[in-house]
């Protein structure tokens, strides 16, 4: 059905051009090697690009050099993602081979590429295949790099043996005898206590600490990293090492793990339990046990009891080991690598205990620090996280340069990558960094935690890709960042903190944002602006910590105002956060830190006799468990622990109260100022009767994820050419064609309805902030939200056609108040027309999923398989979640969260009925009687606007609803336009009888719908006059609703706890969807095929970078008038 050409590119014509690409990859000459993608692609048409792609594909298959292959992968990904789609018409939509999709999900990227190239040779270049090839090459590149780093981690000398020791009897480590000797008087075993600082980086030279970059471009991998002790300003008396690890021998042959900061404890009896990372909150401690060699990675799956291993380690069959972690209340997302340094701290104490580090107590020497760094890297990769190579900097002391190293013949990386996995650390000792300079730094810099907890992973992937393809702007920015790095080091050494601040600011506003615009956000910008406004010349500059801003950040002030600025900063941060918490994902209130450079590095002391005491939090976790036992059942050591806790309670009675709170059940009381879940359910129109009905149907199996699907006998076919109106750029229309639309717009007959009742769970992984208010991109110099963008488009339409466009935002229980306040406080952004808020009138209560639905969700619906280690973690998490569902009660109400996260919107179908119920449509028609058409669209369909041509086609068709569809690309999953049993309609992805059917559909629904108001009312059995009759409206809605299917879905919901900690739970909810209106026989529907930039949806922040690079942002900008 598409009109693709099947031309085979004339390779000879492009010989010289092709050579430039491969020469760029293999050349040792910097000027050739660093040629940018843009310069290589200049002047290439579709045939030229295909010829280059063909050659690069051959090259990547033949090349034995890892980095040559990977550069080819990323160049190919860029060609198919950014260059080729612009060179072929939109009408070349094409179909995606299902087989290729399956290969991609199964991480068989090479097979996927082969299938797609075969399909391309038959279909010709299409947007669908191009998008899939881009994804496959990109992921193949990432996979190849990850495999290489993992291999390098394993081949570091000192790590290899752990991959060979697979049975406890072969274990070559022994516990230090000092730890095995109980105190003569108390009988307590000594406790080894390791204390480690965290790291702060002044510059990472454009994320050059990503392993891939350091290994390919060691010359550019430079970080200035400081080990710091922290205290929370106003809470702690002085800074101290933020992470601690405790190790002792216990009188039972088990491995006991305790995380005092996460309140978790477990006793492991089997070796395999150590590899179950996601079962509980003890994944980091388990990672440390593995990376330190106590439980070597080769023992995974050995099915031996842990007592056998402990027998070898301790030389006794009745002794075990206890490992305790403690983070001194530093929140998650601090960008100070707390987790990695805690991992390093745990590894250090374990390696000391087993003689792998020379000294049991005191500091570490350089060789030991290097070893622990290597093990921490190993631990991160085993845990599936893979942080940067500078992250374990807290194990080292002071301020140091950490730099990439070119691999030499004795390195395992030699001949594979240009750089070594392990960087070189150069500590800036007193002679290079005088004491006065450090003091000046501490007198000026204020470190804070902004409260935002964000995933930095997508940013690291974007950086890697941009580096490998040498995107022009980003490559120049990288050079600039490297130059700034030296200035930062120089300023610090000279003690010129004002210059240092100006360089770190320049780094942030210049190269960092050029490489990744998303490293800043509205919150950060607002804070910087307020600093400038309030402190003028006494505000010296900004420091971004780690991968992105919003979490850990630094502000430099004139030392003379340091104290006052610190108080002001804390107050302002909290106020600013509160004003934005509906829009941006904050995990907690911001805090200000006191910090001090740590000059010792990680160090350990041995506590013996009466001093051999675990931290406070330990007894709080263990004591309730011990108290529940009979005294005679307690071991001697447990009794001594209880006596110790008793002593603590005597000195600190609040501890006893705390213990009672832990033991006795608590009634849940809503915090003052917030209403309970029951109150909110009442307020937002919860239908208990319907809820109970759905619950019983879920439990009986009549409703479930598998029941969402249409019967298997359903015949699903793709649409034919005359089933839709093609408005894509491949088909030209004259100006006259758009005339009816222009007239309607000029006459004020059209309004916009933006669906914004949902929070957009994917946008913040279920954080519950309002996506519509998220200031996601800087347009015309300012970060602007989805809502502001939609108003800006309507403003432009109003100006162009001389008639203000009424704009409706539908809201829900989570979004109504925030949107109202947002629009009010910004005076509706000066919108010239009227805007309306249509408040949702229905809400559901989420339920705990059934194991049956969870298993269906995980196993029967397509999921991207993860990297091997991450996949293990995911599977372990699945088992834990299924267990949670059983314990919490399958199908029971989900109430163990804040009320807003327990309720759910009941699907976007209800948003138009809500406009009828709450009187918004009635008011709209009263205000604008000539109104005939509504354009309904999703909050994330950024390119949707009142396009006169599309409107004309809708009007001419005489349809009640005209749905806009776009050519399907690989990311467009979720149904589409289909011929179902002979009737054209939209089909939801979850209703597809099988996943394969979706791949036979050319078009994906953008959800944008042109609505004929009177015909729609007619479909409801209403007319304009009856809108004033609530009873008639209610009956009409119920009658129509009953004819539409109810879908059961699983949504991820975040539960926040502790200091910035978040858990994600999959919960069940039901919904009715707008696209199913196309199934009703009395509703006449038309379908309009539109260009991708108009119909694509912005679901995930990870899409933003590609959205800018492929020109979509520029397309949107020209639709707006600010």
């Amino acid at each position: 059905m598409n009109s693709t050409s099947k031309r085979v590119p004339n390779a000879d014509r492009y010989d010289a051009i092709i050579r430039r690409w491969t020469e760029t990859i293999v050349s040792l000459d910097e000027s050739l090697r660093n040629r940018t993608l843009e310069s290589l692609a200049e002047g290439l048409d579709a045939d030229g690009l295909l010829a280059v792609a063909k050659e690069l594909d051959l090259f990547h298959r033949k090349s034995s050099n890892l980095y040559h292959r990977v550069r080819a992968h990323f160049m190919l990904a860029a060609i198919y993602r950014y260059l080729l789609p612009g060179a072929i018409p939109e009408t070349n939509a094409g179909l995606l081979p299902y087989e290729a999709y399956q290969h991609i999900l199964g991480r068989r990227f090479s097979e996927a590429i082969d299938t797609l190239i075969r399909a391309q040779s038959i279909q010709g270049p299409t947007l669908a295949i191009s998008s899939a090839l881009a994804r496959a090459y990109h992921q193949l590149g990432i996979q190849t790099l990850a495999d290489q780093v993992r291999r390098s981690v394993r081949t570091v000398r000192g790590n290899q043996w752990m991959f060979r020791i697979a049975h406890p009897d072969d274990h070559p480590l022994r516990l230090n005898s000092v730890l095995l000797k109980p105190d003569a008087e108390t009988g307590d075993y000594p406790i080894a206590t390791e204390r480690t600082s965290v790291r702060m980086d002044f510059s990472h030279s454009g994320w050059s600490d990503i392993f891939f970059l350091g290994m390919d471009f060691p010359e550019g991998a430079k970080v200035l990293n400081a080990s710091i002790d922290l205290g929370v300003y106003g809470r702690d008396s002085e800074p101290r090492p933020p992470v601690e690890a405790y190790l002792r021998v216990i009188d039972r042959p088990v491995l006991r793990l305790v995380s005092t900061d996460l309140g978790a404890e477990a006793e492991l009896h089997q070796i395999d339990e150590v590899f179950d990372f996601a079962k509980d909150y003890l994944g980091l401690l388990k990672g440390a046990l593995i990376a330190s060699g106590i439980v070597p990675p080769a023992m995974e799956g050995c099915r031996r009891p842990i007592s056998e291993l402990l027998q070898v380690l301790t030389g006794s069959d009745h002794l075990g080991i206890e490992l305790v972690s403690k983070v001194n209340d530093i929140p998650k997302g601090s960008r100070l690598a707390v987790s990695t340094n805690l991992l390093g701290c745990l590894i250090s104490v374990l390696m000391r205990a087993t003689g792998q580090v020379k000294n049991l107590t005191g500091g570490l020497d350089v060789a030991d620090q290097r070893l622990i760094t290597a093990r921490a890297i190993l631990g991160e990769w085993l845990g599936g996280s893979g942080g940067g190579w500078q992250d374990s900097g807290g194990v080292w002391q002071g301020i140091k340069r950490i730099e990439g190293v070119i691999a030499s013949p004795e390195d395992p990386e030699f001949g594979i990558s240009r750089g070594r996995l392990m960087p070189a650390h150069t500590i800036l000792t007193e002679d290079r960094l005088p004491k006065q300079s450090r003091e000046a730094l501490q007198d000026s810099l204020i470190l804070i935690y902004g409260g935002m907890a964000q995933n930095v992973g997508p940013i690291l992937e974007m950086v890697t890709e941009k580096y490998l393809v040498r995107a022009e702007k980003e490559w120049e920015a990288r050079q600039e960042a490297i130059a700034i790095f030296e200035q930062i080091v120089d300023s610090l050494q000279r003690g010129d903190i004002r210059a240092l601040a100006s360089w770190t600011t320049k780094n942030f506003t210049g190269p960092l944002q050029s490489i990744i615009p998303w490293c800043t956000n509205h919150f950060t910008e607002r804070m910087i602006q307020q600093c400038k406004e309030t402190w003028g010349d006494q505000y010296w500059g900004f420091l971004m910590l780690g991968g992105m801003s919003g979490g850990g950040m630094g502000f430099f002030f004139d030392p003379s105002v340091h104290v006052a600025a610190r108080d002001w900063l804390l107050k302002t941060l909290v106020e600013t956060k509160r004003s934005m918490q509906d829009r941006l994902p904050f995990a907690m209130d911001p805090v200000v830190y006191d910090f001090r450079i740590n000059d010792r590095g990680s160090s350990c002391e041995l506590m013996t006799g009466d001093d051999a005491s675990m931290p406070d939090g330990y007894y709080s976790i263990l004591a309730p468990k011990l108290i529940r036992k009979e005294v005679r059942e307690l071991s001697e050591q447990a009794k001594r622990d209880l006596i110790r806790f008793h002593r603590t309670c005597e000195h600190n009675p609040s501890r006893a109260g705390w213990l009672l709170d832990r033991i006795l059940p608590q009634a849940q009381v809503a915090k003052s100022g917030t209403s309970t879940l029951a109150d909110q359910l009442r307020e937002f129109g919860f239908d208990r009767e319907q809820h109970e009905q759905i619950r019983s149907e879920i439990l009986s199996g009549r409703i479930g994820l598998s029941e969402n699907r249409l019967p298997i006998q359903t015949v699903i076919n793709d649409v034919a050419g005359d089933d839709f109106i093609d408005l894509r750029n491949g088909n030209t229309f004259s100006k006259v064609d758009a005339e009816p639309g222009r007239r309607a717009l000029a006459a004020g007959e059209v309004a916009v309805v933006t669906l914004s009742a949902g929070v957009g769970s994917r946008w913040t992984s279920g954080a519950g902030v309002v996506k519509g208010l998220h200031p996601f991109y800087r347009f015309n110099g300012h970060h602007r939200s989805f809502i502001e963008v939609h108003l800006a488009k309507s403003r432009k339409t109003s100006t162009v056609f001389g008639a203000p466009v009424p704009h409706v935002f539908t809201t829900g229980y989570l979004t109504h108040e925030p949107i109202r306040k947002y629009l009010d406080s910004n005076q509706g952004f000066g919108y010239p027309g009227s805007y309306y808020l249509s408040r949702g009138m229905s809400v559901g209560l989420r339920t705990v999923p059934t194991v049956r639905d969870l298993v269906f969700h995980w196993e029967e619906t397509p999921h991207q398989m993860l990297d091997e280690q991450q996949q293990k973690v995911r599977e372990s998490a699945h088992a834990a979640i299924a267990n949670w569902a059983k314990i919490a009660g399958e199908g029971s109400d989900y109430t163990d969260n804040i009320a807003e996260q327990c309720m759910h919107p009941v699907g976007h179908w209800y948003e138009i009925p809500s406009m009828l119920r709450n009187g918004t449509l009635k008011k709209l028609l009263e205000d604008r009687p000539q109104l005939k058409t509504l354009m309904l669209h999703n909050i994330d369909t950024l390119g949707a606007n009142l396009d006169p041509l599309a409107l004309s086609k809708h009007l001419e068709s005489g349809a009640c609803l005209s749905f806009e569809v776009i050519g399907r690309r690989i990311d467009d999953r979720g149904g589409g336009l289909a011929n179902v049993n002979g009737k054209l309609r939209l089909v939801e992805g979850m209703a597809m009888p099988n996943d394969k059917d979706e791949f036979r559909l050319s078009f994906y629904s953008s959800m944008t719908t042109w609505i004929d108001i009177d015909k729609l009312l007619d479909a409801f059995g209403l007319d304009r006059q009856q809108l004033g009759d609530p009873h008639a409206v209610e009956t009409a809605i119920r009658n129509l609703a009953i004819r539409l299917p109810t879908y059961l879905t699983i949504k991820d919901v975040k539960k926040r706890w502790g200091l910035g900690q978040e858990d994600v739970f999959p919960v069940t909810q039901f919904e009715k969807l707008w696209g199913d209106m196309s199934t009703l026989p009395q509703v006449a529907c038309e379908y309009l095929a539109v260009d991708t930039p108009r119909g694509q949806q912005m679901k995930d922040p990870g899409q933003l970078d590609g959205w800018v690079r492929d020109g979509s942002a520029a397309y949107l900008e020209q639709l707006c008038h600010w």
Binding site: R157, G158, N159, Q160, W161, M162, R164, I165, D169, D170, H171, P172, L173, R174, G293, M351, T354, G355, Q356, L371
Partner: protein, 278 residues
Amino acid sequence: MIIKKAVVTAAGPGQSSLPLQRLVDRDGVEKTALEMIIEEIVSAGIDSIAMVLSPGSEEAFREAAGNYIERLTFVTQREATGYGQAICCAKDFIAGEPFLHLVGDHLYLSKQARKCAQQLVQIASTNDCIVSAVQATRENMLPFFGTIGGLRVPQEERLYEVKRVVEKPTPTLAEQELTVAGFRSGTYLCFFGMHVLTPSVIGTLERLIADRKKPVPLADALHELASRQRYLAYEIDGQRYNIGVKYGLLNTQLALSLNGQDRDRILTQLVELLGTQK
């Protein structure tokens, strides 16, 4: 270098009764472990042997020495102050001469006509320096042995120039500093329990003991000497058996019998034994 003396240390905790254990040798003759150790030494042409013992164990050793009693000199280590100090106790006996040193809890089984001690003494005599007998050992046994790192001596089949010695290294350290070219990953050259030492070892041990004021393993002194003088390691063509560990005696006896004249008889008995097991 002519080696005329030997020192056997048997003063460690739990070692005093080991040489008294009775075994059947390859020729089917029943004798004590001590007699077998002495025969090993005598085969190398040495007939003056010092036994370093813990207090009170001399009488039992005299009895176990059988016909070799005339060749023995008994030296008492008054306190259990470590392996290094035990060797130092034989200082007067050594009297400034090189000597063969064996540990009292090991028995040796050569794979060739020359016994293990014979092989070692010959190499030491030829090279005129300290030589430690070593054996390729899997990394899981590292907690039991001193381990060397070094380079192969050119043109020599089993001889190594020692650069580093570590007593009971962790596998992490072994992998970083003790790998020897030509051996598979996870295999290291560990002590065989047999050395030819020079008087310089005694001097070094005494100094280290004085400095550290705590027990010093022989490996530490050898490590120091490796940087000062030529020190070789010889991969013996034979096996060592530790009779001091659990089932060590049984294992040693099996090895002796399966390599001796009663091999078939023992094999038959083993098969019968296995056949009657449920």
